[in-house]
Amino acid sequence: MKVLPFIYNSPKEYWNYFQPTNWLEFVLGEINPLYSVSTAKAKVIAIHSESADAKTIVLQTNRHWKGFQAGQHVPVTVEIAGRRVTRYYSLSSSPSAKNPTITVKRQKGGLVSNFLNDRLKVGDVIELGQASGEFTIDPSALPDKLLFIAGGSGITPIHSIIKTLAESNYKGQAKLLYFSRFKEDIIFFQSFAKLETGNSWLEVKHVLTDVPSPGYESGFLTTELMDKFVPDLKERLVYLCGPAPLQTSAKEFLKDNQVISELFLLPTQIQTNYQSSGPVEVVLLQSHKTVLLKGEKSILEELEDQGIYPPSGCRMGICHTCTCRKTSGSVTNIKDETMSDSGEGNIQLCLSRVDEKLELDF
């Protein structure tokens, strides 16, 4: 095919150039915002207040959303002030429910969590990704004895798991130790009360860390508390989800246990107080720009500070939207403080801090 060599050699690329999916997406979107060729979207059909600063959002998904296992999380994309932002939230309903729910607790200074709590209305359409995560329970091999330890918003995947256990006629014995700051801060208080009365295998203990209240245990995770609540700790499979300080202290007690844990790092929590030795040159090959980055925050954030906006997603290293090819120079991974080699490779901009002169294919 000498006449049309490029189309002959890469017909697929040419077909994509027609933007068939973009066109369909546009037409379907004009008919109904929930319709789509491939994107999982969801309509908000109800919003309940769950605690003083958490809300449960009930979603009606389109057919592209493939469901989830109890304990998994899902990327949620919303538009705030014209900008699309993505964050991960655990699903709090049981997978058998017709309408899945996410429960969002307000984070101090959090962009998306506050938006979802204050601005989201019934009828809004949000974009979902597919559920993922290893913080799940194997229904074919349910252990006899379980312990759940949760703190704050870490309760959401556990709520989903316990609801699922209740539905599947769980025969073993499970205990939940849940840390909240004060009484009104307890998420799913009603729901757990109902689950506890309906299911003899479940025992729930609420612990208040900040403001004591009569009828509630108060304080932090202590040997005393553990001995009293779970004398048979060693025999239990432990699910642990909550803020980093809770997880660190909990893991001290759980050295001999099998622990399944999940730690969500907020974008602002990944930052380290690393002091760099000085600004480093970063060459953006496609943009024909050279910028100076300090190497104190992630490359993504430092570029944004300079008015350059690479495509980005979850900002915690899960979604790979910000992956970018590095042709030379080395970076440090913020999460585990490992240094990359200085050759070619793909890096995640949200997780990388600049070390030496970089060249990015961006």
Binding site: F6, I7, A81, R83, S287
Partner: protein
């Protein structure tokens, strides 16, 4: 090139630059929902005009509906190239984090490859605006527009070559891309192979575009294919003439100045602002005109702030004009007819050698300097500034 702007001292230039930075900060703080909604609305208009335009061309049986369809398709292509393509590829909407409006992935409805275009336009043209030899957009390497460019006999034909370019502008834009890339390689490293690689990118895009407009859609029309081919050809041509007209008014009007590579050595950010101002010219018009020109009607604002969402240029313009007045700088603007006439006068005049060109320009009114700057530079070491 004679300047009609007041020559500013170093301190005055820096103060001028600082005022422009201030404007940028003010405007960037406001960028958000409105700008996102604007580009989404324009995108919607672009999709609908294309559907409607192609539909009308396809199902028309008489000249009127065919004509309307062709105009709609032309309008759709203009929106795609100007208000969406040009601005999106400047990174004006990258902050939205929306793949449809991301400068890295956007590809437009024109035979120019977007990556090549971003190199010669965003980088070369916007960095070295009107610097002869560096900004290949100045005359596009075939039109002579200033006495600083050497005259060659071939320039006698530039009236005709420009007229030809006007109707085939997209081909000029596309071919310009790979040639600039090639010319920017140090002479020693230039090889036939590299030229072929660059050219293939252009050829690929040509193939993609031609098949779309002259094969795919005509085939859909069956035996009516000549009509669809004609409609697409006319729509492309209308778009070409329009974009040529708007773009040439940007830098080639009467008082748009040029610079030499020596002049821009050790240039500060403020100097760069001054050069952008002196080298660009605006067109005044209606809101609809601004939209259809992709806000290149506000060429000066665009050159000062290429990555600020384009609809903000309208609110920047009066502020910028006031600052220019304060500093005695010429703010080059006028109606489309005036600016376009000036461009063609320049193309005509400089098609002749300098001697004749001067004579032709001789009956032009004497160059009038702008009024004295109305600024008072405050000496920062002055004791008056130190609070008692």
């Amino acid at each position: 090139m004679k300047t009609i702007s007041k020559k500013l001292s170093k301190a005055e230039t820096e103060a001028f630059g600082a005022e422009l930075e201030e404007i940028r900060k003010d405007v960037m703080a406001k960028v958000g929902t409105e700008d996102a909604n604007h580009i989404k609305r324009v995108h919607k208009a672009y999709r609908y005009t294309e559907i409607l335009g192609r539909g009308l061309i396809h199902f028309s049986f008489e000249p009127i509906t065919f004509g309307i369809g062709t105009l709609l398709l032309a309008g759709s292509k203009i929106l795609n190239n100007m208000e969406i393509g040009h601005n999106v590829m400047h990174g004006q909407y990258d902050w939205m984090n929306d793949p449809r409006f991301n400068s890295r992935t956007f590809e437009w409805d024109i035979v120019s490859d977007s990556k090549q275009w971003k190199f010669y336009h965003n980088y070369m043209h916007h960095t070295f605006t009107n610097v002869l030899g560096k900004d290949h957009d100045y005359g596009y390497n075939f039109t002579r527009l200033t006495d600083d460019q050497k005259w060659k006999p071939v320039h006698l034909t530039q009236m005709f070559s420009n007229l030809f370019l006007m109707f085939h502008f997209q081909w000029g834009v596309g071919a310009h891309g790979y040639r600039v890339e090639y010319m920017e390689i140090p002479k020693k490293l230039r090889k036939k192979r590299t030229l072929k690689e660059y050219r293939d990118v252009f050829f690929k895009k040509i193939e993609l575009q031609l098949v779309k407009d002259y094969l795919f859609f005509p085939i859909l029309a069956g035996l009516n294919f000549p009509k669809v081919i004609l409609g697409n050809l006319l729509a492309n041509m209308i778009r070409n003439v329009w974009t040529y007209s708007i773009i040439f008014c940007g830098h080639f009007t009467e008082n748009a100045e040029t610079f030499s590579p020596e002049e821009i050595k050790n240039e500060t950010r403020a100097d760069w602002y001054i050069r952008q101002l002196k080298g660009s010219s605006n067109i005044s018009g209606s809101k609809f005109f601004y939209l259809m020109s992709g806000h290149l009607s506000h060429q000066i604002e665009h050159h000062m702030y290429p990555d600020v969402p384009s609809r903000r240029y309208q609110e920047i313009a009066p502020r910028l004009e006031a600052v220019c007045k304060k500093y005695g700088q010429n703010y080059n603007t006028g109606s489309f007819a005036k600016q376009f006439a000036e461009v063609w006068k320049r193309i005509f005049v400089y098609s002749f050698p300098n001697k004749i060109a001067k004579k032709l320009l001789g009956n032009v009114k004497e160059v009038q300097l702008m009024p004295e700057p109305q600024i008072v530079m405050v000496d920062t070491t002055s004791e008056e500034l130190i609070p008692a």
